[in-house]
């Protein structure tokens, strides 16, 4: 079936076309924000709070201003006098979601530099601008700020305690949002369940940690009253919108570009104060201004993620059929919550995963604390809820002495039940329907890649007899991808006949330029070299959304198609006029349009583009407007549902608790793969991030709200030697929801590894009835199961 789709479209879609992005990057000719150097440019740096919660008293900037080479210093009061806070609700949820999910939302706005109090370690309280970053940092050292400590709200449960100090006094509470929803009879169904288990699951705090930190360069042109802003961001159109609001400038007078971006993974997926401040400084000082975050600053100040506590109850029958699930969970949002209820909304929608579970009820509190703001990171609510749910499924199996794989098969939605109505509402406001897929087959294939379930269990038994501990970990998930509200694209045929494509998507290494060229080359039946792609530039597409939430392949391809269809309709009318033929007799072929069955009667896109031009001697028929271009918007009907089964075999060293992953497998289905090699890279890269999160990475705070892991020497990213053998198997069940059958896949890999590792360790240590219900999975905790215990 997939080959048929490919044949219809031409030939590039489905091929592992080499990346057009690679050459510049390999030659050292990429251009990242830090590489931009403009004449007369000055450098900004921020003074950041060493305290998690403090009232700001006097801020004396006199000495800093006096430093040679310093051109500007501002306190929070100076900034607040001129600039409004950034809107707390950068992402607005649609009415359809608010109608179907009970919500009580009070999201605080975020001051660009606060004047009254600081709310997390790393929040800026002043800034300096100087001839070099070195001098700007010298100036920061001389700023005398009186920070009067307030009691820290070091974690969510502290912030919820009676009598806790308020972090945002005007809200009157430390909860940004209460959410609640249910399916079937919800919690009421629990009483009828023959077996019930309750557990607390904790998913710790870690972060995107792209290798390029954030950075912004802005330049103001007073003659034209225009701003150009280069930001290392995933959402140039949002940045433009927020600068427009803050500086009271028309959006069309601001051009925001994301040049080469060195990874994002969600951490660059919303607007930060510095995006606006650097633009403001460039206009105010009338000089180009650059700010590039250093790594320590990034770890303190760029969004963190995860950090959830789940209290889950699961009800099931004696065969392991899950009848009801309830959960009550906390999201530690940190001091602000820039993407609002997005993470929690995802968690609520994804808890039931690939299983057919009739009753479900959940409530959530998004809690404001004195930690760094929490925003989506690859997976965005799914790894957290997936950890809770997939641990719970294993506990059901253990309770009944059944194989965890078999319990999963008993509960999975079968392929013939597709499309499957879940009975919940997605955060786009649309009732959830899993659109296509074969979940049990994915798990079957995954187990087969490890030798098959019987073989695995036999090996495990043999190992145990030898005093060795081998465990099978399983983690399955579904993922709503390609979410709206929309994406924009512009398609033009220029007078050389080349296809110019621009899209609102903002890649950070995914290879969008290559993938979008594949789409356009097939849509226009041209060699891929004839397609020119521009991304991440508001000057090229009027409205765009950006690259977050595993969405760009789905949404940008939709926009490119609508724009192309619109232009082609016109091109056919003009070609019919040129060829003196009826439009129904025409077909697209050989980089142009020809009369069916008549090889000689053909005009190229170049011919048609010239014929379409405004002015004398054009060849447009009456009533056809000049030009071959369209800017169009794709508004997806709802999300497409990718899914995967993850399995791993791990060995545990009883002496040290060392976890050695023999092999990790993900069977993944993201519909039709446009560029299989790039898809493979996305899934594998995500898996390694998930393994990092499950085993190594941790943003640890002490009970006073101090971050303890402020460098990459403390915050451990996976290295080449940490990565186990990984196999990724792709299934390709097309989505019925879009023209190409595609689904999104950027995030998926990162979702399951933490729970797969935890389940594998617990499986290996079944003789000890080991339970690991929190992340990260630490060797020391694993070793403790052996202390004083006998298998």
């Amino acid at each position: 079936m997939n080959d048929d789709v490919r044949k219809q479209t031409g030939g590039y879609i489905g091929q592992s076309v080499p990346r057009r992005e690679d050459r510049n990057l390999l030659l050292g000719q990429g251009e990242f924000v830090a590489d931009i150097q403009l004449p007369n440019m000055v450098h900004a740096a921020f003074a950041r709070s060493p305290l998690p919660h403090a009232t700001i008293g006097d801020v004396d900037t006199e000495a800093a201003r006096a430093v040679d080479g310093v051109c500007f210093v501002a306190s929070g009061a100076d900034v607040c006098a001129e600039l409004p806070p950034i809107n707390g609700m950068q992402v607005v949820t649609p009415q359809g979601w608010r109608d179907r999910v009970d919500t009580d939302i009070l999201i605080p706005d975020q001051p660009l530099v606060p004047e009254d109090k600081v709310r997390y370690v790393g929040e800026a309280f002043a800034l300096a601008v100087a001839d070099s970053r070195y001098i700007a940092e010298d100036a920061l050292e001389l700023i005398e700020a009186e920070l009067i400590p307030l009691p820290p709200l070091a974690e969510a449960e502290t912030a919820l305690a009676t009598g806790a100090v308020l972090i945002h006094e005007h809200l009157g509470r430390n909860v940004a949002a209460f959410l609640h929803t249910k399916k079937g009879d919800g919690a009421a169904a629990m009483d009828a369940c023959p077996n019930r288990l309750s557990r607390r699951f904790v998913h710790h705090r870690y972060a995107a940690m792209p290798m390029e930190t954030r950075g912004v360069v802005a330049e103001y042109d007073g003659r034209t009253d225009t701003l150009t802003v280069w930001s290392s961001t995933q959402i140039v159109h949002w940045v433009r919108r927020e600068i427009s609001t803050a500086l009271d400038m028309p959006e069309e007078r601001i051009r925001c570009i994301a040049p080469d971006v060195g990874g994002g993974f969600g951490g660059k997926g919303h607007v930060y104060p510095e995006d606006i401040l650097v633009a403001w400084l460039a206009k105010k000082l009338d000089r180009p201004v650059k700010w590039v975050e250093d790594r320590h600053e990034h770890i303190l100040n760029a969004a963190h993620s995860r950090d959830n506590i789940y209290d889950v109850e699961i009800g099931f029958d004696d065969d392991g059929r899950i009848l009801a699930v309830t959960s009550s969970f906390l999201v530690d949002s940190g001091a602000y919550t820039p993407v609002g209820a997005g993470i929690a909304g995802n968690s609520i929608a994804h808890m039931l995963g690939p299983y057919d579970i009739p009753h479900y009820e959940t409530d959530c509190k998004i809690v404001l604390t004195n930690r760094t703001p929490n925003a989506p990171y690859r997976g965005a609510g799914r790894p957290e809820v997936g950890f809770a749910m997939e641990r719970a499924v294993d506990l059901v199996a253990n309770h009944l002495d059944l194989d965890p794989a078999k319990v999963r098969f008993r509960n999975m939605i079968p392929a013939d039940a597709m499309p499957y109505e879940v009975g919940l509402t997605y955060r786009d406001g649309v009732p959830m329907v899993y659109d296509s897929g074969d979940y049990p087959e994915a798990l079957n294939r995954a187990l087969d890649a490890l030798g098959g379930l019987d073989d695995i269990r036999a090996r495990q038994k043999t190992a145990l007899a030898e005093g060795k501990y081998l465990g099978l970990g399983i983690g399955c998930y579904v993922e709503g991808t390609g979410v709206g509200p929309f994406e924009g694209a512009s398609v033009k045929i220029d007078s050389t006949g080349k296809i110019m494509v621009a899209a609102g998507a903002c890649p950070q290494g995914q290879g969008h330029e290559t993938v979008f060229a594949q789409f356009a080359a097939d849509m226009w039946q041209v060699p891929i070299e004839d397609v020119f792609v521009t991304v991440a530039d508001t000057g090229q597409v009027t409205q765009g959304y950006g690259t977050i939430a595993s969405r760009s392949t789905v949404t940008a391809s939709g926009a490119i198609k609508i724009a192309s269809d619109t232009v082609q309709e016109k091109a056919f009318a003009i070609a019919a006029n040129m060829l003196e033929a009826g439009e129904t007799d025409l077909e697209m072929r050989d980089s142009g349009i020809g009369v069916k069955g008549v090889p000689d009667m053909h005009v190229t896109w170049r011919d048609i583009a010239r014929a379409a031009k405004p002015g004398w001697d054009n060849q447009r028929p009456d009533g056809v407007e000049a030009g071959l271009e369209s800017t169009s918007y794709y508004e997806p009907p709802t999300v497409t549902w990718a899914y995967a089964a993850n399995v791993a075999l791990v060995w545990i060293d009883p002496e040290t608790g060392q976890i050695d992953i023999e092999k990790y497998v993900e069977v993944h289905d993201a519909g039709l793969l446009v560029n299989p090699s790039l898809a493979d890279g996305q899934v594998k890269g995500g898996l390694v991030q998930g393994l990092g999160g499950g085993l190594l990475e941790e943003l640890a705070y002490d009970d006073q709200g101090q971050l303890l892991t402020g460098s990459l020497a403390d915050y451990l990213l996976p290295t080449a030697s940490d990565v186990p053998p990984i196999e990724v198997v792709h299934m390709e069940t097309p989505s019925p929801l879009n023209a190409f059958g595609v689904k999104g896949l950027g995030e998926g890999g990162a979702i399951a590894p933490p729970v797969v590792i935890a389940n594998a360790v617990c499986d290996a240590l079944r003789p000890f009835k080991a339970e690991l219900n929190s992340t990260p999975v630490r060797w020391g905790d694993v070793a403790n199961f052996f202390d004083g215990a006998t298998a």
Partner: protein, 163 residues
């Protein structure tokens, strides 16, 4: 401002001179003074390896070295790998094996790999994984990087891949 002193280094075979404060990092000198922005700065504390360059034949973190310490040194950076627009074999292998996504770590990866392969003629895959752990990549999961370096090592040392 502290006095700036003249620093002369030979970069990719060309002698270049610039001014540096004593505290200026070699990475910043290369990027901001000499405008060789191919070398990237990822952490400024010597962990990520993005700023790796080869100084007098040895791979070093240019964020942990002052520019003045490099006065008179011969330095090789990513800009010097290609010759006459023709990519270095390792650059080609990185493309072939999909060893980069965002490309930010790539300069440090390439310089680390060249140092590793040039300095050891009998690399196992394990050696490559350990050697390349000197540089962090957040996108790829390293499979393509390890495969590219393994093929390169095989070519340089005249062997079919690595053990």
């Amino acid at each position: 401002m502290t006095d700036r002193t003249s620093v002369t280094i030979t970069v990719n075979g060309i002698s270049l001179t610039g001014l540096a404060e004593p505290r200026m990092l070699l990475a910043d000198f290369l990027r901001d003074e000499l405008r060789l922005t191919g070398t990237h700065v990822g952490c400024e504390h010597g962990v990520c390896g993005a700023c790796t360059v080869i100084v007098d034949g040895v791979a070093v973190r240019s964020c942990l070295m002052f520019a003045v310490q490099a006065d008179g040194a011969e330095i090789r950076t990513i800009e010097g790998l290609a010759t006459d627009g023709e990519m270095h074999p390792l650059q080609k292998l990185f493309a072939k094996h999909r060893a980069l996504q965002c490309g930010f770590c790539t300069p440090g990866m390439l310089m680390t790999a060249i140092d590793l392969v040039d300095s050891t003629d009998d690399l196992t895959e394990e050696d490559i994984r350990v050697g390349m752990s000197a540089a962090l990549c957040r996108c790829t999961g390293y499979e393509g990087i390890v495969n590219a370096v393994a093929e390169y090592a095989g070519k340089v040392h005249g062997k079919e891949g690595v053990r």
